[in-house]
């Protein structure tokens, strides 16, 4: 009996706020309405039409005819498409692991409790504040084979520097070098991760007489894996959308010999220089699929190597 009574009371109590809730639904939608409109106008509509465009030969000058899979088929035989994918993968595969190794190592040093640390931290973050166009121009100058600071430095230690951006072999490593310079954002995220690791682990390890290397590989790195995972995913997504740096550095040409033609640069060319909007839309969807696939793959492997504190 008692439980039954309780139930009816509960029902009443649940019913009372219901009218209030429908009232709140109106307010809720009203408050969210800017984003509802934004979502429909700037995301849903373009997303759907982009799928459609990718099956047409749409250009600005003519309404697109439906051409089925022909854009996708043509891409498969488009040499520059494959070159741009190859360049993008080359960059991603080298840059992302390097940025993780250097980023984690620097963050570990920056996490020590010594005087003047905030000054050091600021210094490593500064390059992140340089706008990408300015960063590109600064590095063209630094990498100038004749008057650049980098080759002058190399000559000082007896090395004959390469032509950097003038060489098909060194152009991508140049881009990696300048991108590593601007990775302060990742370092700050690693620092936040390091700050979250409880001191107790290290104290316990010290009692057991663990060495620095043991502490690094048994405590720090495993507990940092969630943050490494985050930067890995963001790093790959960013690498695949590389545009401003190579575009500015080569004036949009991707030279020498298309060694700096990146995927999004070729997409941009198709859309806004050749006005092949349909073809470029197909490229955009392939990019989307690559990024989704990569992200899913990294998520899938993460079960094996990402450890969460308290697990």
């Amino acid at each position: 009996m008692k439980t039954g009574q309780k139930l009816t009371v509960n029902k009443k109590m649940a019913r009372a706020p219901k009218s209030k809730r429908s009232n709140e639904t109106l307010t809720g939608w009203l408050f969210a309405s800017p984003w509802v409109i934004g979502l429909l106008l700037f995301f849903a509509y373009p997303l759907i039409s982009s799928i459609y465009y990718s099956f047409t030969d749409y250009s600005i000058f003519q309404a697109g005819d439906f051409v089925g899979m022909s854009n996708y088929k043509e891409l498969m035989t488009d040499e520059l498409f494959w070159i741009s994918i190859g360049n993008t993968i080359y960059f991603a595969v080298l840059f992302v692991p390097l940025s993780i190794i250097f980023g984690v190592a620097l963050a570990m040093v920056l996490n020590m409790k010594i005087k003047g640390m905030s000054v050091y931290r600021t210094i490593f973050f500064l390059p992140t504040l340089v706008p990408h166009v300015a960063l590109a121009i600064l590095w063209i100058w630094l990498l100038n084979p004749e008057f650049g600071l980098i080759n002058a430095g190399l000559e000082f230690i007896g090395i004959d520097g390469p032509a950097w951006l003038g060489s098909t072999f060194w152009s991508k490593p140049s881009l990696i070098l300048m991108s590593l310079w601007g990775m302060g954002q990742a370092i700050i995220i690693y620092l936040a991760g390091l700050g979250d690791i409880s001191e107790e682990y290290y104290e316990a390890a010290d009692v057991d007489g663990a060495s620095f290397l043991q502490k690094t590989f048994k405590i720090t790195l495993p507990l940092l894996t969630p943050v490494i995972f985050f930067n890995l995913v963001m790093g790959f997504i960013g690498a695949f959308q590389q545009f401003t740096l190579p575009y500015t550095m080569t004036n949009g040409s991707g030279s020498p010999a298309d060694s700096l033609t990146f995927y999004v640069m070729y997409l941009y060319d198709n859309a806004f220089n050749y006005f092949r909007m349909g073809y470029a839309s197909a490229m955009a969807w392939i990019l989307f699929i690559i990024i989704m696939g990569l992200t899913a793959f990294v998520f899938w492997t993460s079960k094996r190597w990402v450890h969460y504190q308290g697990d």
């Binding site: 809720g28 979502l39 373009p46 465009y53 401003t244 004036n251 839309s281 990024i291």
Partner: protein, 278 residues
């Protein structure tokens, strides 16, 4: 005693690693500023020299005449300020409704919002261009400003997490006192969210100030160019004016560095927030 010397050795070791790395990170900066102050003859001296002789402040004046620098700065400022105001108006109120109001469809819409964050901008870029083209907005700065007034998914997400952390009792107490939902938002919740709103405003400011692809697509008329495009223009015309290019690069970076200097904490809190839970 030996423990103390060991600790001291460790500190010395850390400092030397940090100083070496700092030099590597700082030198390109110093090089940019130093080149911007050199006479052209010294720009091409080899081996390179760091100290400009004499210091040529005129480079900056010359550079601002070489391209319509002030016009471009004005254009950039208009886009940056308006779009920043846009996200400050739209994002907090949407985020508040996601975090604190209970309405039908809320969860579905929030999941969609998260999903949208994962779509690469290139996918929506072309249809958006065609849409703005039909509206007659291509060639104006409207495509770079108006969308901000309708919310940015990442900023909405960030603010929603912030509002979630505010106690519900605040809202309930105000409700009992008869305050409308709008008053609760505007007079209680929005002021409390100020640090988070400031963080998303900073992100938008930086994104707009440094944006390149957006202006490249939409600003077809040279009089409406932003600094990003203007700097590129430098490279086209006689690309050897390195001292002037470095001067404009320095000028373009300066506002962000000043902003960072005054709002370091907000900056870093905002950035770490994105990675906090991995």
């Amino acid at each position: 005693m030996s423990a103390i010397t060991q600790k001291r050795m460790k500190t010395i070791y850390a400092h030397s690693v940090l100083i070496l790395a700092s030099v590597l990170f700082l030198v390109p900066f110093i090089w940019m500023v130093s080149t911007s102050l050199k006479p052209l003859t010294q720009v091409f001296s080899f081996p390179p020299e760091f100290i400009p002789r004499p210091i040529q402040w005129e480079n900056y004046v010359e550079a601002t005449k070489y391209i319509p620098f002030w016009k471009y700065t004005f254009n950039t400022a208009v886009i940056t300020i308006l779009s920043t105001i846009g996200v400050m108006i739209s994002c907090p109120i949407v985020a508040y409704s996601f975090a604190k109001l209970k309405w039908r469809g809320r969860n579905v819409l929030f999941v969609i919002t998260i999903g949208v964050m994962m779509i690469p901008a290139q996918v929506t870029m072309i249809p958006l261009f065609l849409l703005f083209n039909q509206l007659g907005w291509v060639g104006t700065n409207l495509p770079l400003i108006v969308p901000a007034f309708f919310g940015v998914p990442f900023s909405i997400f960030l603010l929603r997490q912030f509002f979630k952390g505010l106690p519900d009792t605040l809202r309930e107490a105000a409700k009992i006192d008869g305050a409308s939902e709008w008053r609760i938002y505007w007079q209680i919740m929005f002021p409390l969210a100020r640090p988070a709103v400031l963080a998303i405003a900073l992100f938008q400011f930086m994104a707009s100030w440094t944006d390149f692809l957006g202006p490249l697509i939409y600003l077809t008329n040279e009089t409406s160019y932003t600094l990003s495009l203007g700097l590129q223009q430098f490279q086209n015309q006689q690309g050897s004016q390195w001292h002037m290019m470095m001067a404009v690069s320095t000028l373009m970076t300066l506002p962000i560095i000043i902003l960072f200097f005054f709002m370091q904490k907000t900056f870093i809190r905002g950035i770490t927030f994105t990675g906090i839970k991995g």
